[in-house]
């Protein structure tokens, strides 16, 4: 083509703009490498620091997977799903019930994931879709209602008292150097990260995933090529519920008990993670989750406000402070795109 030369120049220019415009900018990567070095050096110098870091990474992975659920829903429908945590709590109760009926822990685990997938799809079709045509805000309000509804239903069926589930990873403790690491935290981390990677691979490498990305990015154009857009968005909700179920099931052993408020603080951490990572960035949500998990753990151990020591009571407010700070100073988060409006 005669115009190939000039168009190549133009495309180079555009590529430069695309790199600067959003995504992981060099500064962000430098900061992340700095954080990693800080954690590594700290862990080598102090056993307590190392243990808190490992525990923080495991908890952070849980926050990250719930944050990823929030991001998937946001990308698909521009709805912030306030019920995401309660949905995860509900599916954890379903797993509890399945185990009570005689399933082994891991049988119940996978059955619950399947139930969560269907539940997410049904909720989108039945409750979100009908109001989404009117406005996104209406759908967000529906999710707040869903929060209350799930909370009520769970309390009604199972009661508000503590329930106990078998431990999925046992009570074994590994000793690495002088550092004791509970098998629980290793297991939590591995299960969550594998789930996240599988969902990522689904989006990245499969035709279904491509259809879902196309439907979320440009619904009108996606329909032109034959993508069933509304169905794709519903599956997006289903996958979010599935990731949330993983988060709930992995959060439960870290709390040692199951109660209806299980996911409420975790939802706040997940929001902090999602906002920190950039609400439209899946990778950002997971990295944000890990950062929040580790930093909250360390702040509670080492942090001071003037002469006052920061205690675990301030964990949730600290996450809230992160949300406010990010929205004030860098609304697009670490990895989000500056311009997130859909046209």
């Amino acid at each position: 083509m005669a115009t190939a030369e000039s168009s190549r120049l133009e495309s180079l220019r555009n590529r430069g703009a695309a790199l600067g415009g959003g995504g992981g900018t060099p500064i962000v990567i430098v900061i992340l490498v700095g954080v990693a070095i800080f954690l590594l050096v700290g862990s080598l110098r102090s056993v307590t620091f190392a243990q808190l870091t490992v525990q923080g990474l495991a908890l952070g992975a849980v926050y990250g997977s719930l944050a990823l659920a929030l991001v998937l829903v946001y990308r698909a429908t521009r709805v912030v799903n306030f019920a995401q945590g309660e949905l995860a709590m509900l599916t954890t109760y379903i797993a509890y019930q399945l185990i009570k009926w005689g399933l082994s822990y891991w049988e119940a685990f996978f059955a619950t994931l399947a139930i969560a997938l269907v539940l997410g799809i049904v909720l989108e079709l039945a409750l979100i879709r009908p109001v989404l045509h009117r406005s996104v805000i209406a759908a967000v309000i529906v999710t707040v209602g869903l929060f209350v509804l799930i909370d009520g239903v769970v309390n009604w069926i199972w009661g508000g008292d503590f329930k106990f589930m078998p431990s999925p990873f046992g009570t074994k403790i590994y000793h690495v150097g002088g550092v004791s690491i509970a098998r629980l935290y290793v297991g939590m981390f591995v299960v969550v990260i594998i789930s996240v990677l599988l969902v990522w691979a689904l989006f990245r490498f499969t035709k279904l995933g491509l259809g879902m990305r196309a439907a979320a990015l440009r619904p009108a154009e996606a329909a032109f090529v034959g993508v069933r857009v509304e169905w794709m968005l519903a599956i997006g909700w289903g996958l979010a519920a599935l990731l949330g179920a993983v988060a709930g099931l992995m959060a439960e052993p870290s709390q040692f008990t199951l109660e209806p408020t299980l996911m409420q603080p975790i939802l706040v951490y997940a929001f902090a993670a999602a906002v920190l990572g950039g609400l439209d960035s899946p990778a950002g949500a997971v990295i944000g989750g890990l950062l929040i998990g580790v930093s909250l753990n360390l702040v509670v151990q080492y942090g001071h406000i003037g002469p006052l020591k920061i205690t675990s009571e301030l964990q949730t407010p600290a996450a809230f402070a992160v949300i406010v700070a990010v929205l004030l100073f860098k609304p697009s988060g670490l990895f989000g795109h500056q311009e997130v409006r859909r046209v």
């Binding site: 009108a220 034959g226 993508v227």
Partner: protein, 235 residues
């Protein structure tokens, strides 16, 4: 010849605004048909009515089947590819992913389709991994056309392909459309502001005015018509 696409008294509206007031037209299998007309005449809406993007009434027949209330994804699955105005490439996705989406409704391997497309657009095969948004405007329009063709449609709806392109690119684009029509038997319904070009590429045309067909005929007839010459061809 039988008509592959037939519109009969089609009306369409955006909310309360009536845009089409009973459009009737026919596109023969294997032909290129142009829709001309001033801004706001309803050219784009006519295409959107076919692909189910707007609420429509009246009768639309495609390959002997009434489209009825079929939505855009259903229409696409029947074998109608729509390249919307402003290209409609997925700029966030790679060239390959865009082409893959073009064949979204096909099952199995799409390698044969890709090979056919690369024969017409050789430069695409070297740039499969490039993000579509980093292509130039002309390349994106070519990609949109290539994506539509991977679909192996029976009918291609092409909306204002010349918009915002340099004349040399527009000529190239119409050359490829013409080639796809002649070699592959692709039927094309093209909306175009540039009547000169459109009538060169098409065998027949319809002139829309204010949501109605004001005039129709073969390209030669339309070129010879005084009012078309004055309004759209400028001589």
């Amino acid at each position: 010849m039988t008509a592959l696409l037939e519109l009969e008294d089609v009306e369409a509206r955006y909310g309360p605004v009536h845009v089409l007031h009973g459009v009737s037209l026919a596109v023969d299998e294997g032909s290129v048909v142009a829709v001309l007309g001033p801004n706001g005449a309803g050219k784009t809406t006519t295409l959107r009515a076919v692909s189910g993007m707007v609420r429509r009434s009246g009768n639309i027949q495609f390959a002997g089947r009434a489209l009825g209330r079929l939505g855009p994804d259903g229409v696409a699955r029947l074998g109608i590819a729509h390249v919307p105005e402003g290209r409609g490439t997925f700029s966030e996705l790679t060239v390959w992913e865009n082409l893959r989406l073009g064949a979204y409704t096909r099952r199995g391997s799409i390698q044969p389709e890709l090979e056919r497309v690369f024969a017409y657009f050789p430069w695409l095969s070297e740039r499969k991994r490039q993000q579509a948004g980093t292509l130039s405007g002309g390349e994106q329009q070519m990609l949109a056309l290539a994506r539509a063709f991977v679909h192996r449609p029976r009918l291609l709806l092409l909306d204002e392909p010349s918009l915002g392109l340099a004349p040399v690119l527009v000529a190239e684009l119409f050359r490829i459309v013409r080639e796809l029509n002649e070699k592959e038997g692709l039927t094309v319904l093209v909306v175009e502001q540039n009547a000169q070009l459109a009538l060169q590429a098409a065998e027949a045309g319809y002139v829309l005015e204010a949501g109605r067909v004001a005039l129709s005929g073969t390209s030669a007839e339309l070129r010879a018509d005084d009012s078309v010459r004055r309004s759209y061809l400028g001589y």
